[in-house]
Every structure is written in C-alpha cells, then in structure tokens.
C-alpha cells in the first residue's frame, strides 16, 4: 500500500504546487487545501500502514490483543485536519473581503499596503 500512497502524495503535492504558484488568490487557497491533504496522507503513511484492525479497545477488555493500527498518526491527522479547516475558513472569508474591498483577487494587483512607485530596496 505504501507505493501507491507515496505516488498519490507526490501527485497531490505537484498539483498543489502548480496551483499555489498562481497569482489568483482562490487558486492559492485551493492549492493550500490540496497540499494539506498531501501532508496529512504523508503523516498517515509515516505511521506505518496496518489494515483492517482499528485501534479500539473492546468493551469487556482493558487492552487490545494482537496487532492493531497505530492510533497516533490518526490523532495527528485529525488535529491537522481541524486546524487546516479553521485556517482555510478564515482565509476564504479574507479572500472574499479582499474581493469586496480591493476589487481584485489577483495578488499582483494588491498594492494598498505597499503602494507602487516608491523606491524599492
């Protein structure tokens, strides 16, 4: 399973990089979402893959018997998804505000904070 997942991570990273190089803010955010998924998959794969045995303690037992999937990467990925969701939600609202206030979502046209025409260092 590791090889197809590694290829998928590579593909997603490539797509995300291409999207993030765009000057369009929405594409950049889409790239962030895709790259986030690639990174989450990487953490998941880094924790070694074990199929069909979720790390659940049976109701009548104190501990799990035998082999079970590594629960830690799942916890890490869940946390990372939550945080990524929060960041993306904020970034989307910000992009919308930028569109309303600045009239553009192209980053090269946003020159309010650093007006053009001044001396560049």
């Amino acid at each position: 399973m590791e090889v197809p997942l590694a290829l998928l991570i590579g593909l997603l990273t490539g797509v995300a990089t291409w999207l993030m190089l765009s000057r369009n803010l929405i594409r950049l955010l889409l790239g962030f979402a895709v790259l986030g998924n690639a990174v989450n998959l990487l953490i998941f794969t880094a924790g070694r893959l074990t199929r069909d045995v979720p790390p659940l303690v049976p109701l009548d037992a104190e501990a799990i018997e035998g082999a079970f999937a590594n629960p830690l990467p799942q916890a890490l990925v869940l946390t990372a998804i939550v945080i990524g969701f929060g960041l993306l939600a904020f970034a989307l609202v910000l992009a919308w505000q930028a569109y309303v206030r600045l009239g553009t979502i192209r980053t090269d046209e946003m020159r309010e904070a650093e007006p053009p025409g001044e001396v560049k260092p």
């Binding site: 659940l56 303690v57 109701l59 869940l78 939550v82 929060g86 939600a89 904020f90 609202v93 910000l94 919308w96 505000q97 309303v100």
Partner: protein, 146 residues
C-alpha cells in the same frame, strides 16, 4: 433558499441530527465519536436550518449567541483539566467518578467526558459563528472570527 423539499426535510432531519450529535458525544471515549465529531454533526444540523429557513431561525435554535457557547465550552474544558490537582496528579489527568445507581448499575462520570462536552460547545459555537457571519453580512469587520 426557498425550497419546499429542503424545508420539509430539514424539519425531520435537523432534530434527528441533533440527537445523533448527543449520541456521538456520549459514546465518544471508548468508541468512535466524541465532542468534536458530535459538535460538527450538531453544527451541520444548525447550518441546514440556516440554509432552509434563514439565519434568524438558526440563531433561535442555538438559544445563546455562538460566541457565548464557545466561551462556555472553553470554560468547561479548562475546568476539566483542574480536578487532577486536588488528588496530586499532573495537569489534565482523567478522573472517573463511578456513581452507584443501585441494582448493580453504575454510571461512570469522568473529566474526559466533561472535556468532550467543552469541545462540543466550542465547536458548535466557533463554526456556527463563522457560518452565520458568512450567511448574514460578509462585509462586517468581525466576519470569520471565532
């Protein structure tokens, strides 16, 4: 959105989703579920109401303003980390209180459950604040903040 089907479906679905969210919250410590997932399901129910009947109805369902819900949740979560100090255990340690209800039935109450309830409220409050801000007036200053 003015859709008869959506509104009719929401009337049935939203209460069921809220029930499901409580169920998920309750069983969370030992089985898949928990405060976060429960909170998201509850938020979906409220978002569905917001879409079908408008944000005002969604606010009424929440009773309290979303930010207040999140604040209460944060307080509850912090409180859950403290009892460990009373029995000289490190910060955040989970403690169980097993109430004997008679007839051999035991009701286990725990600080992880309390923490999960806190998370449940924070998730509902935080996500609903974002959703309602987006649905009502995207140009206000505080849009998008938890």
């Amino acid at each position: 959105m003015n859709s008869l089907i959506l509104r009719a479906a929401t009337r049935v679905l939203a209460p069921m989703m809220l029930m499901l969210s409580l169920f998920l919250l309750w069983r969370g410590h030992n089985l898949p579920g928990g405060g976060f997932i429960g909170g998201l399901v509850a938020t979906s129910a409220i978002a569905l109401q917001g879409i079908a009947f408008g944000p005002e109805v969604a606010r009424r369902t929440l009773v309290l303003p979303p930010a207040v819900l999140a604040g209460v949740g944060l307080v509850v979560a912090v409180i859950a980390t403290l009892p460990a100090g009373l029995v000289e255990l490190p910060f955040f340690t989970g403690l169980w209180l097993k109430l004997d209800l008679g007839d051999g039935a035991i009701l286990p109450l725990s600080t992880p459950l309390l923490f999960d309830i806190g998370v449940f409220l924070v998730v509902i409050g935080g996500v609903c604040a974002i959703l309602l801000a987006l649905e009502e007036d995207p140009e206000t200053d505080q849009a998008g903040e938890p």
